[in-house]
Amino acid sequence: MGVDLPILWAIIIVFGLMMYVVMDGFDLGIGLLFPFIRDRAERDLMVNTVAPVWDGNETWLVLGGAGLFAAFPLAYSVLLSALYLPLVFMLIGLILRGVAFEFRFKADAAHRPIWDLSFAIGSYVATFCQGIALGAFINGFRMNGLTYAGGAFDWLTPFSIFTGFGLIVAYGLLGACWLIMKTEDALQRRMIELARPLTLLLLIVIGIVSLWTPLAHPQIASRWFSLPNIVFFAPVPVLTLATAWAILYVLQRQPHALPFGLALFLLFLGYSGLGISLWPHIVPPAMSLDQAAAPPQSMGFALVGALFIIPIILTYTFWSYYVFRGKVKFGEGYH
């Protein structure tokens, strides 16, 4: 066969994870913004903007995990074992917020504040742990050949904690921009107010990560700052600055969907920046795609399904968003 299975699978997984960041990012962001909104009706409205789609959003995370398992079982086993505790905490965060979607509405009045809290805390914990996992991933893992040789707390570094906070800012911005698009009046104005500092903060976070990684990892520095790479990659930082500026600009004039689109693009740029830094290591710095790959029979079999089914999934996902398009109104009984 002429196709390079590991590369194709890497693209699918990278795509799946990007879909996850894009889709579940704003949805986690809503929980992150909960502490800033006190009003019960407004909180209900916020949750109702994502209630019909959150499960689908989260499924991209499951696909990321399952795709990795199917195509790169070795990487799956090393990464998940190395990131054991952050992942366990992330899962618990996802439990706490996932059930709150239903429980918030089913509980008696006395219990409701508990589930509001559970929704917010779950969102913070899940996001923070994803950020930690990301930071630990960038830092790389201590390996002995193809097995993990590090300790239980290797993931805990100043850098990973920083990326944990960074991701909270990023998802928070996505959530705010989503709500600008889906809500009106006071709540929308509040979100516009929040989106401004979040954009600036995110820009700072991206800046610090962009300096920190090449300083700490010479191979990443040489990837970016050697000729001719620097010419090819230069658009990434330039576009990042331009996008951030555009968000701030549109926020000032009756924004609707534009901030959300731009925020997504901003995140996409950050994501590609990371991709440039790390490619083609699946367990940086020691394990490459080919080393981690499943037997070709496994990759090929799963690939047929992926290529055939993902377009269908995208179609009905799009349809579902289309059904629930437009501003969500107070008291709209669609929960």
């Binding site: 989260e58 998940l80 054991y84 439990i95 496994s298 669609y334």
Partner: protein
């Protein structure tokens, strides 16, 4: 922690989290299909009773589904976090099967769930029915893939071992491994039975309290028909499943039967009750029926089956556990069967809705389906030990190298969070059930829709009237 090794803690954690998880899928699978039936009847017959039932059970479904999803995500990650060596070794088979499950089932369920729960007045009745159908199909597809994966681990075939890991050579054989058809049928029926018993118990609960409305009667009657028809089928399927297991995993059957040795020329008795003693290599206090073991397992008077002593001690499953979990499952199966017969007899005599003793029995049997289902899984999984992949990889070689510290932290967290979160969730589900299906109240005028007490909750309260329908 408590002197447990990392391996033991990893096993407890997996067993604990999956036992919690499976309860929700079982109800999800059953209710999803039930909702399809209800909506189809509603569309066909235009009778409000089916709509009321649909809206009522879809609320319960929503709470249950949310718990199924979040407990399931934990499972998908646990293969890597806890069973790293298993993942690296068998990921070439288990991974693609899980990937197919995500692609073909989880997305389908999740993608149409929003429309099913919140979209009734946004899309037409036809499209809405389609969404319900897709969610139900998703649950069954999901069961198919995950059981293919589990069955491969039980009765592996169609693979080779190359460079220290499993390489699939024939996917059809991998997916249709010998125990797969039996397990798929047995498990799907188990989910339907468990749901029918749950629905039936809630109907009986309302009937006993004098809420003898049409909706309550309809759901109770439907549930009892289901139990009557499906319980005997399950017993036959279970028997076939057991024969298949005898062929491919004889040590498991020997453990289930507490059968230690064959005396030359003698038949195998059926041990009804007793206490298998792993050290003493015998089953104590055994209450036996001569020849019955031979009859059930080999369909002959003096047939013999492999006994535990035919296997090295390190290859024997933990007999006391599976001996009793199996008996729990089978005992409950017969109770279900009798409940079904009782309902048929009462129907024939006239009225199943006003027989207090029978209604009490139906309430008591409410959780029995779920109990039998978990008992069945315990039999299957503990009976497979000491192997993860039967006769290919030992559980002890499958576990990730975590320290006991990490595992204690996560195990305690999971136990606390699961009981707190899912315990509360189940109590909310039961409260919803206790409110009863007559959302609009039996006396509400047709056409006027009463708002439920919580304006944003549950099913949509402003339901688009069906063309020509009365509500």
């Amino acid at each position: 922690m408590f002197g447990l090794t990392a391996l033991e803690m990893a096993r407890i954690q997996f067993g604990f989290t999956i036992s919690f998880h499976i309860i929700f899928p079982a109800i999800t699978i059953g209710l999803a299909s039930y909702l399809v039936v209800l909506e189809a009847l509603w569309l066909l017959k235009q009778a409000t009773v089916f709509r009321d039932l649909y809206l009522f059970w879809s609320k319960v479904f929503a709470v249950n589904f949310a718990m199924g999803v979040v407990s399931g995500i934990v499972m998908a990650y646990q293969f890597g976090t806890n069973w790293g060596h298993f993942s690296a070794f068998a990921g070439g088979v288990t991974g693609p099967l899980l990937a197919y499950e995500v692609l073909s089932a989880f997305f389908l369920e999740a993608g149409f769930l929003g429309v099913m729960l919140f979209g009734l007045n946004k899309v037409g009745p036809g499209l809405h029915f389609f969404a319900t159908l897709m969610v139900a199909a998703g649950t069954l597809i999901s069961a198919t893939w995950i059981l293919a994966s589990n069955s491969f681990m039980q009765t592996p075939q169609g693979y080779e071992i190359v460079a220290g890991r499993i390489v699939p050579v024939d996917w059809v054989k991998v997916i249709f491994s010998p125990s797969f058809p039996y397990r798929l049928v047995h498990m799907t029926i188990a989910a339907y039975l468990a749901t029918a018993l749950f629905v039936g118990a809630s109907g009986a609960w309302h009937l006993i309290r004098g809420r003898n409305t049409q909706a309550v009667r309809t759901m109770f009657s439907m549930a009892m028909w289901m139990v009557l028809i499906v319980a005997p089928i399950q017993i036959i399927v279970g028997d076939q499943h057991g024969e298949n297991t005898l062929k491919y995993q004889p040590a498991k059957i020997a453990g289930i039967e507490g059968h230690w040795e064959n005396k030359p020329g003698e038949s195998v008795p059926l041990i009804l009750f007793g206490w298998p003693d792993m050290k003493g290599e015998t089953t104590r206090y055994a209450l036996e029926i001569p020849h019955a073991g031979s009859l059930i397992l080999t369909h002959s008077w003096n047939g013999q089956v492999p006994a535990l002593k035919d296997f090295a001690p390190k290859d024997r499953p933990d007999s006391p556990v599976i001996f009793w979990s199996f008996r729990a499952m089978v005992g409950l199966a017969f109770l279900m069967f009798f409940l079904g017969l009782w309902s048929a007899w009462l129907r024939w005599r006239g009225d199943i809705y006003r027989a207090p003793l029978f209604l009490r029995a139906a309430i008591l049997m409410g959780p029995s389906g779920l109990l039998a289902l978990v008992a069945g899984w315990v039999t299957t999984e503990v009976g497979r030990q000491p192997w993860v992949v039967y006769n290919v990889m030992r559980t002890a070689d499958a576990v990730s190298n975590h320290s006991a510290v990490e595992l204690s932290i996560s195990l305690i967290l999971f136990i606390v969070i699961y009981f707190a979160v899912f315990g509360t969730g189940v109590s909310y589900m039961l409260k919803l059930v206790a409110q009863g299906p007559d959302v609009r109240g039996p006396e509400a005028e047709p056409g006027k829709i009463q708002r439920p007490s919580r304006p944003l909750s549950g099913a949509p309260d402003a339901v688009r009237p069906l063309p020509g329908g009365e509500g």
